[in-house]
């Protein structure tokens, strides 16, 4: 069944159903689970950026009051590659005793050479991660005849370097879980802070060599997931191992220092860009030499094939890119809200503005002139795909953002702002996938008392997923979302895909549509023979709050109709994701305004306009909240966030919240969100795209304010003042 063409609930602003529980502290997060006789666990971690474990002595620790269990992650002789690497976990009867036990463990290490700064690793003669060098080439790409064609007939090219540091996920609810085995030690229940409720049982089952069906994962509420919570992690395994050994439930949630230093990082990125266009502003050449650090991981940090970001589809553009991976003795990168994209956007879009300045062009016009065209082939074969409509979408979005930001009046040439506090405005474009997929089961149950229950194992990361399911089911059954009871976050409800890549709404909303439709049909089929005049099922239709029988003037109220169901025979509908109801590929534009105090170097972001498409909107309120939240995360990325590593100790100096800065409410701009509703495209995810272009837009706004590029984010006073003085900022 396709999406209804007239929509009563879908696309409206629906307050999230669980807000009253969240706002009064009644929502139970994994961190809040307290089980009878529960033990508390902690992990001892390597304090060195690179070391070999010589010995682990737990004799004294085991004598401490309350000690109950331990789980060693490594044996003596093991080589550990970053400060924070797990050594041994312990469990005790109270958190206080767990601290005591932890502090009584003696571990001897042999310290080894390490590298924690990109610049040092690029210069180093030897590797510190088991390979000859910490620097590898992830890949390169060049268009045909680049050297011959690239700079023919161009105005003077612009060459500059831009950079943005490693940042940390900083989930407010840290990683971890509560593990509890049943009395026979056969069945395991974990209350986990995870983005992957249905995926944890098979992962844990593999470790314990038991069927996934004997493991249950519960995540009623989870306090923040941005791509770092897809598996139980060493902490989850340790909790479950010790729970079995001690025959008692074990809670192991990371503390803040652990959460920041091992709970996930977004890789740094730096790029030297050479960009050129004709005098009229047609892009001709884009060269990028990029590097970034995934920490001890070895994955690429940006996609060299996607550069220049958004503009790679520009016809006749000569492109030459190279990406290097600079491995460091710091925690490994994990996916973080649109992995790679904020960095690629940051590097590309700032070069675009520098080019516009060189050409004396308004950067908005330069972008309009160089938008990738709608792909003629895609228009024929896949008319709702992004490639078929990208030019149309970006053009419309830029036009709306231009009006909402009053761009034509507010923009001025770079540096042309009076007084010591300079005003600036800048923009950037982004794109993302956000497709749904199979393996999402939704079950809808209509009962005799008129109640409707929706069940799915999926998780709510803060996206109002419960409300998404309720909206879709309410639409089909003629009810209000608040009439629907939604149960999510329990693995026994069936299959669901992990919440990553902005896939949850486009994965589960179609499944909810199919389940609600099946439940509706089962319901009408069951009650038809029991209604006055025993109508045919085809004579029944659902209207808001009631059932209409064709030819009968008086509709039957919902509850009354439901009362015809048998007491133990509710109407049940099961549904899974099906093709055609969701889609992938969005555009998006953001325009940021800043005020930069040239005497103190303080940058304040005053306004951000965000225009975003996501196909068919399910909950307009939820979408707007996601977009504003993405913008705020981007403001933090541009102005405040940086994981700072000390080359003398090899450790992060700010694994906390006081020196790892996140903005408060007073630091945040006025945010204007405009949602494009494009129902013909189907449902597309919204979680990631709106955080991609904010930092790039702010970087451009700072450039517009000062007339000088601050090359490296975050735009701290020191970096701003250094750029104004024409010198290089310290590290």
């Amino acid at each position: 069944m396709p999406w209804p063409t007239t929509r009563r609930v879908i696309g409206t602003k629906v307050p999230r159903l669980d807000a009253p529980y969240k706002a009064t502290g009644r929502a139970k997060y994994s961190f809040d689970i307290n089980r009878e006789g529960m033990l508390h666990a902690r992990i001892l971690r390597c304090p060195y950026a690179h070391a070999r474990v010589k010995s682990i002595d737990t004799a004294a620790a085991e004598k401490i009051t309350g000690y109950r269990a331990q789980h060693a992650f490594v044996k003596p002789g093991a080589e550990l590659f970053f400060a924070g690497a797990e050594v041994i976990a312990i469990a005790a009867d109270t958190e206080e005793h767990a601290d005591d036990v932890l502090h009584a463990i003696r571990v001897d290490y042999q310290e080894l050479p390490y590298l924690v700064k990109e610049a040092d690793a690029l210069r180093a003669k030897e590797g510190t991660l088991g390979a000859p060098s910490n620097v590898t080439v992830a890949g390169d790409f060049v268009t045909n005849n680049f050297e011959k064609l690239a700079y023919q007939g161009v105005a003077q090219p612009v060459e500059a370097t831009y950079g943005i540091p490693v940042i940390c996920h900083q989930c407010l609810e840290s990683h971890g879980l509560v593990a509890e085995w049943d009395k026979e030690q056969n069945n395991l229940t974990v209350y986990a802070s995870t983005q992957n409720v249905a995926g944890l049982p098979p992962q844990l089952g593999q470790y314990f060599k038991i069927p996934a069906t004997r493991i249950k994962c519960i995540t009623w509420y989870m306090g923040g997931g941005f791509g770092s919570k897809f598996n139980p992690g060493p902490e989850g395994i340790a909790a479950a191992v010790m729970a079995r050994a001690a025959r008692a439930p074990v809670k192991l949630m990371l503390d803040r220092a652990e959460e920041v230093s091992v709970g996930g990082q977004r890789p740094s990125a730096a790029g030297t860009i050479k960009i050129a266009a004709t005098k009229a502003g047609d892009l001709k050449a884009f060269e990028a030499d990029m590097y970034g650090s995934p920490g001890v991981g070895n994955g690429a940090t940006v996609n060299f094939r996607e550069m220049p970001y958004v503009y790679s589809g520009v016809p006749n553009l000569n492109i030459k890119t190279r990406a290097r991976v600079v491995r460091l003795n710091i925690q490994t990168a994990r996916a973080m809200r649109a992995p790679g994209h904020p960095q690629m956007c940051f590097i590309t879009d700032q070069a675009m503005d520098d080019l516009a300045a060189r050409l004396n062009m308004d950067p908005l016009r330069l972008r309009l002139r160089n938008l990738p065209p709608n792909d003629a082939n895609a228009v024929k074969t896949a008319p709702t795909s992004l490639n078929a409509v990208r030019h149309t979408i970006y053009t419309r979005e830029i036009d709306i953002a231009r009006k909402l930001s009053n761009w034509d009046k507010v923009w001025h040439p770079p540096g042309k702002s009076d007084g010591p506090i300079k005003h600036g405005i800048g923009m950037a474009l982004h794109t993302w996938g956000g497709s749904g997929g199979p393996n999402n089961d939704v079950k809808v149950t209509i009962s005799q008392d008129g109640s409707v229950l929706v069940q799915c194992s999926t998780q709510d990361l803060g996206t109002a997923e419960r409300t998404v399911l309720a909206i879709v089911v309410a639409e089909i059954l003629g009810l209000n979302p608040s009439d629907i009871t939604v149960e999510i976050g329990e693995s026994q409800f069936g299959r669901s895909t992990p919440s990553g890549g902005s896939t949850t709404c486009p994965g589960t909303a179609p499944a909810a549509l199919n389940a609600a439709t099946a439940a509706r049909d089962a319901f009408l089929t069951a009650i038809a023979p029991r209604l006055p005049g025993t109508p045919q099922v085809g004579d029944l239709s659902i209207e808001p709050g009631r059932i209409r029988i064709r030819g009968n003037e008086t509709p039957i109220p919902w509850r009354q109709a439901c009362s015809r169901l048998g007491q133990n025979t509710p109407a049940v509908g099961n549904g899974n994701w099906t093709q055609g109801l969701s889609n992938r590929g969005v555009g998006g534009i953001q325009i940021a305004e800043v005020k930069v105090d040239t005497e103190t170097g303080v940058v304040r972001c005053t306004k951000v306009v965000a225009v975003q498409d996501c196909g068919l909107i399910i909950n307009k309120q939820g979408c707007e909240s996601q977009v504003a939240g993405g913008v705020i995360m981007g403001v933090n990325y541009a102005l405040f966030e940086e994981a700072i590593f000390d080359k003398n100790t090899g450790r992060q100096v700010n694994p906390d919240m006081e020196f790892y800065k996140l903005g408060g409410i007073q630091d945040m701009p006025n945010i204007v969100v405009h949602m494009m509703d494009m129902p013909e495209r189907g449902v597309i995810g919204i979680g990631e795209p709106p955080t991609i272009s904010t930092a790039a837009a702010i970087g451009n706004a700072v450039f517009n304010a000062l007339g000088v590029r601050v090359p490296h984010a975050p735009y701290t006073p020191e970096r701003v003042l250094a750029a104004l003085a024409g010198r290089k900022a310290g590290n």
Partner: protein, 209 residues
């Protein structure tokens, strides 16, 4: 429930620290270099009464209910509430007085419950976010959070709600800017500030009209 004689609330943190082990929750990263267990209590007769390290009985007045349990003197108010009394609306996030997720009202004033000892909170009324609902009827502050979608993951939300409640109780005529100032000690990671502002404007308008 008759435990007031067990511990007065007149004991200073310094006195307490002299007779107990290290109170601060230390990072496990630094474990190998941190001090071990403190010396056993006892010794000088003239010293203030040593407490701990063993658990002592405490009574806290939480949301109008007297709750009792045995906790070690080093336990923070936050940990006593969460781990020993199962009052989990206040959240542990930074655990060192930066993020505000643990904010509770102590005698009507907002405090970071991670940054005071449970012992110190005895004898004073403590209110958490859980007190801001009667049956299913929400207090105006959480109601505004719900109506304007001022929460996403929601882990920071109870702290914000309590801090906002404190501002509005202390100054019922507070302007939106004054309310924002009162929230300066709270941090949200999902980015709910824009929707929170909608809630603040609505609350301030309600009070003015």
């Amino acid at each position: 429930m008759n435990d007031s004689k067990d511990q007065g609330s007149g004991l200073s943190r310094r006195d307490f620290l002299q007779g107990s082990s290290v109170a601060a929750a230390a990072t496990a990263l630094g474990a190998p270099t941190l001090p071990g267990l403190a010396a056993q209590p006892g010794g000088n007769d003239k010293a203030p009464p040593a407490m701990g390290p063993a658990a002592v009985r405490i009574t806290l007045n939480v949301n109008g209910v007297k709750m009792t349990n045995r906790v070690e003197p080093r336990v923070t108010l936050l940990d006593a509430l969460r781990n020993y009394l199962n009052v989990t609306g206040c959240k542990r996030v930074c655990d060192r007085g930066t993020c505000g997720a643990c904010t509770v009202l102590l005698d009507g004033k907002p405090v970071y419950s991670c940054s005071m000892l449970a012992l110190e909170a005895q004898g004073k009324p403590i209110r958490t976010a859980e007190s801001l609902v009667q049956g299913e009827k929400l207090d105006a502050v959480p109601a505004a959070f719900a109506r304007y979608d001022a929460q996403q993951c929601g882990f920071c939300t109870p702290g914000f709600v309590v801090a906002m409640k404190a501002v509005l109780e202390q100054n019922p005529k507070a302007t939106p800017a004054e309310v924002e100032k009162g929230l300066a000690g709270n941090i949200c990671r999902c980015g709910t500030y824009e929707q929170m502002r909608d809630a603040i404007y609505a609350l301030c308008n309600q009070r003015r009209s």
